[in-house]
């Protein structure tokens, strides 16, 4: 329990530090929001006045604190590009991104872990799994996206080429299947490799011999002594995968023309839509920290050594 609180506390601190670093980085990025807002025909004096109005002349730490306070109250600023509240701009697009990421994550868990477990069920599958996962890891999401669109959308016509659906969940999932596969494919391979290696390593541990020597059946040995222990690295990697999927959604949403926050980030960056870029970047950081914190909590629940090392 103590260690769980520690993990959550660590996550909150990471979130705070990371959000400041992002804020700092964006404030250093080329392109001044005041110049953009004032338009082409503004005089330098007008721009300067606007800078003061926007508070851009204040030190970055002060601006960060003000932004943090405002965003905690739900005020994420305004979008210059769309001339509306950032919060109300992002909100409807969050759902589709989360659905995409969740879908891809499910694919990773089911097929990644499944692939990694195949060699322990049928030992002759070990070699094929190694080859397939090595290939899978080396496919970037945008290449996977192009191939999937060409084959399954254009040639076979099984799935829609572009866009999202406003229909029911089934229809939405049908639209998101190819994007989710493109997003998941290299992580499926990676999680598959980690699972295979981890199960293999644990199966060779001496305590597994002890269990055999106590007359346990192979099935019980596998679930209680191999899988349970092998889950520890698998969970770590899965947490990282979930975090990386959120960032990966930028490429995949753009490739498939999905109106989520990933594609919104791209158009906002191009339009120098400062508040929106900031808000979406923070959502990514939040997702990253939440994913890794949840993975850490799962590890604490699973590995007693993590629990008492601190309290001892």
């Amino acid at each position: 329990m103590k260690e769980a609180l520690r993990v959550v506390g660590r996550g909150l601190i990471t979130l705070l530090v990371a959000s400041f670093v992002i804020y700092l980085a964006l404030s250093l990025a080329p392109g001044d929001p005041a110049t953009a807002l004032a338009g082409n025909r503004a005089t330098p004096e007008q721009v300067e006045t606007l800078r003061q109005e926007l508070g851009l002349d204040r030190p970055v730490v002060v601006r960060y604190a003000a932004w943090l306070a405002a965003s905690l109250h739900g005020d994420l600023g305004r979008s210059l590009q769309f001339r509306q509240d950032t919060a109300s701009l992002i909100e409807p697009r969050l759902g589709v991104t989360f659905l995409l990421v969740g879908y891809a994550f499910l694919l990773i868990l089911v097929f990644g872990i499944g692939l990694g477990l195949l060699p322990s069920v049928r030992s002759w599958l070990s070699w094929p799994v190694v080859v397939v996962t090595a290939l899978g890891i080396s496919i970037p999401a945008f290449v996977a996206a192009m191939i999937l669109i060409q084959v399954f959308a254009l040639n076979l016509g099984w799935f829609p080429v572009l866009g999202t659906s406003n229909g029911d969940l089934r229809d939405q999932l049908w639209h998101l299947t190819l994007p989710a596969i493109a997003l998941a494919i290299s992580w499926v391979a990676y999680v598959g490799q980690i699972t295979r290696a981890s199960v293999r390593e644990q199966a060779g541990k001496e305590h597994v011999d002890t269990a055999r020597g106590r007359g346990l059946a192979p099935r019980a040995i596998f679930s209680k002594h191999v899988l349970r222990n092998a889950a520890i690295p698998i969970i770590t990697i899965s947490g990282l995968a979930l975090a990386a999927l959120v960032a990966g959604s930028i490429v995949v949403e753009t490739a498939f023309g999905i109106g989520g926050i990933g594609s919104l980030l791209v158009t906002s960056v191009l339009a120098k839509d400062y508040d929106v870029v900031l808000a979406i970047s923070m959502i990514f950081v939040l997702a990253f920290v939440v994913a890794t914190t949840v993975a850490d909590l799962a590890l604490v629940a699973l590995d007693p050594r993590l629990r008492s090392k601190m309290s001892a």
């Binding site: 001496e206 305590h207 020597g213 106590r214 346990l216 349970r228 590995d303 007693p304 008492s308």
Partner: protein
């Protein structure tokens, strides 16, 4: 003569290395009677632990045991997997050199203690009661607390006691102790050996103690089998092995041991220890034996009865005087 419980006859083990089968155990012939305690001593890599694994068939699927292993008259090497699971734990228990490595770190000590009994169909309630009794008998009074703890919260000595209790929980007839004290500190070593000794006398258990420590073996066993490069070279009563060693290797082993209070220079055995797969057709010790002749290098000697010892040496009858002379240096 009491009833034989375990019988090894020309038992060997071949394991595949780089596509070839290589022997790690050549030839072990040994019997253990009911209630008897036998030591299996030898250098590192002499095949002691591999012999133990062969007895319990704790081998990988591509390892090839040879010869005969009979437990209570039943051929262990012919057992199917179901019968084998009954043998393991319920008839032969085993404890290991490193209790920490041999315990699953993410399961409680209670899980480890109970899993054998639960697998054998003992109800949880009864298994828990039995485990608590056993923990008390191996010197762990606060069993309930210990069972709720995890292995990393216990010292090596405590963990080994739990391993002993777990092995005893299935009421085996034979306990194989594979270097049970090597990973423990000296004071704990004695306690653990004493506990094993107590369990043996209380339960009429047969014991196979695997160790490289001749003194330890002499203290807790009735007979000692000396192994070298995968073969048993001499079997002798524990009391007389030290003074009356027969085999040239055993004698060399005895004279190469440091003794407290002795200012004698420690003798070494010339040459280097060889692995089981390096020896050819002949006697496994031939390459380092001062008495070896051509015959020794071409044909492997069988164990023969010589003055109450069993010795595997072709020249044992001819070299008696030389052996006596060597032993005189002790």
């Amino acid at each position: 003569m009491t009833e034989t419980l375990l019988e090894l006859q020309h038992t060997g083990l071949d394991i595949p290395v780089g596509g070839r089968l290589l022997p790690v155990v050549h030839d072990v012939t040994l019997t253990i009677a009911r209630g008897e305690s036998v030591g299996l001593v030898g250098e590192s890599g002499s095949g002691k632990s591999m012999t133990a694994r062969t007895i319990m068939r704790l081998t990988r699927h591509d390892w090839r045991p040879r010869g005969a292993v009979r437990f209570a008259g039943e051929d262990v090497l012919a057992m199917g997997s179901r019968r084998l699971r009954q043998l393991r734990g319920a008839e032969i228990g085993m404890i290991y050199q490193d209790p920490r490595a041999h315990t699953n770190p993410v399961r409680t000590n209670g899980d480890s203690l109970l899993e054998g009994m639960l697998a054998a169909g003992v109800p949880r309630q009864e298994a828990t009661e039995r485990a608590l009794g056993l923990l008390a008998s191996v010197g762990i009074p606060d069993g309930v607390r210990r069972m709720a703890q995890y292995p990393h919260q216990l010292s090596g000595g405590l963990l080994q006691r739990i391993m002993i209790a777990a092995a005893m929980s299935m009421q085996p007839q034979l306990l194989i102790a594979d270097e049970p004290t090597t990973a423990l500190d000296v004071t704990t070593q004695e306690e653990v050996m004493a506990i094993i000794g107590e369990q043996r006398t209380e339960r009429g258990l047969s014991l196979l103690v695997i160790t490289h420590d001749l003194d330890l073996a002499a203290a807790v066993t009735d007979r000692i089998a000396v192994m070298y490069a995968g073969a048993v070279l001499e079997v002798a009563p524990s009391r007389s092995l030290h003074r009356e060693a027969r085999h040239p290797y055993t004698v060399a082993l005895m004279t190469s041991r440091p003794a407290l209070g002795s200012r004698r220079r420690i003798q070494t055995i010339p040459g280097r220890p060889v692995s089981a797969f390096e020896v050819g057709e002949g006697c496994v010790f031939a390459a380092r034996c001062p008495f070896a002749v051509d015959h020794c290098r071409t044909e492997r000697p069988e164990l023969r009865e010589v003055d109450g010892h069993q010795v595997a040496c072709h020249r044992i009858d001819e070299i008696g005087d030389e052996i006596d002379a060597l032993r005189g240096e002790l």
